[in-house]
Symmetry: D2
Subunit: 121 residues, 4 copies
Amino acid sequence: MNDAETCLQEIKDRVLAFAKAREWEQFHSPKNLSMAISAEAAELMEHFLWQSPEQSHQDMQQAPLRAKVEEELADIIIYAIEFANMTGLDISGSIESKMKLNGQKYPVEKAKGNSAKYTEL
Amino acid sequence: MNDAETCLQEIKDRVLAFAKAREWEQFHSPKNLSMAISAEAAELMEHFLWQSPEQSHQDMQQAPLRAKVEEELADIIIYAIEFANMTGLDISGSIESKMKLNGQKYPVEKAKGNSAKYTEL
Amino acid sequence: MNDAETCLQEIKDRVLAFAKAREWEQFHSPKNLSMAISAEAAELMEHFLWQSPEQSHQDMQQAPLRAKVEEELADIIIYAIEFANMTGLDISGSIESKMKLNGQKYPVEKAKGNSAKYTEL
Amino acid sequence: MNDAETCLQEIKDRVLAFAKAREWEQFHSPKNLSMAISAEAAELMEHFLWQSPEQSHQDMQQAPLRAKVEEELADIIIYAIEFANMTGLDISGSIESKMKLNGQKYPVEKAKGNSAKYTEL
């Protein structure tokens, strides 16, 4: 599998099949999955706690760390996809809508080179 | 866009173009993006803080909450995808590898109907 | 040490001395410490991912889990206290002010038995 | 109230009384409180997402941000204290034990000026 050829639905199906085979849907409420996403996100973050932002770029060039980070990122997205599975959300459509909204909140002229929140632009 | 027809690469490209147009790549270090994913994951979770897992299923049937949750989920995945963009990770491949590993940690016979961590199966 | 006899300043001093002895103040920026608090909070949460709220009460009666949870809670508060150390905040005063504010947001008559956010009371 | 004169038990009592008056103990399971701590920790972190660690120090000199950050820190500690209330944990004792453990994991000779995890010292 690779990103150029893989549709989101294909990953959704695999993730759902994995959970179904283990009868895990009973645990996969929106509440519990939101906790799981958050817990995995923290594990990703933990690799970069004390580094400067610049160092975190360099750290990603080290093979062992990179491999671990890759696993954490996968875990986050797997749970996010399972959240979409269990709630019937279309991820691509949601992202398209949200990016349209973000484009209005952060028009290029105002947001260029600026990391301020839209409420302070 | 919808999940049946959208490749991950297509979303990756859109997310990257959005950041490039705003010259935001300077802020998008692995460290900062890991924080952003975690912050968005918490916003998703906040909708379900005091509900029981069962209620969280029902809450997702209410249109206004559902719309907000959809936005939070999109934000999480957008930042996760931008993390992959900035670090050169292939999401589909990472998920495929991680699910293989998860399958070994959680064999169907042992994990069926069981929410225990693999270290305690 | 026990909560009936221990002032916050005493814990603040111990936490600061620990960091100073290790020359860790250079890593303890508000940004980094906010990440550390969040990462520890996620570790606490991880113990309760798939349990119902009721089960989480019962789980706390099991000695091995209780011991681990106690460590996670300590870690959260240690980093929160170090955040106050590094930024010169008075915790007791901050809590007193915040609870006054919370009392206005959640007046007893409206909030009694109700878990809704103050914006929806 | 100030940290030099305030015992943890005094804050515990106030936080518990606040919850009792609103009949909120029914919502304050270990699971739910762990989520609340994590959600508040993320709100603190959000103020420092795109800043460098150095900038985050300077940001804390700005009165409006400082006031907001103070509120977020208070929220984290309030929920952590309520977690201790609902589970019968002694915070000071837990911190004392955890710091002893941390001292063994991070002996001064090895950890001085070093941000590596104890598993990599």
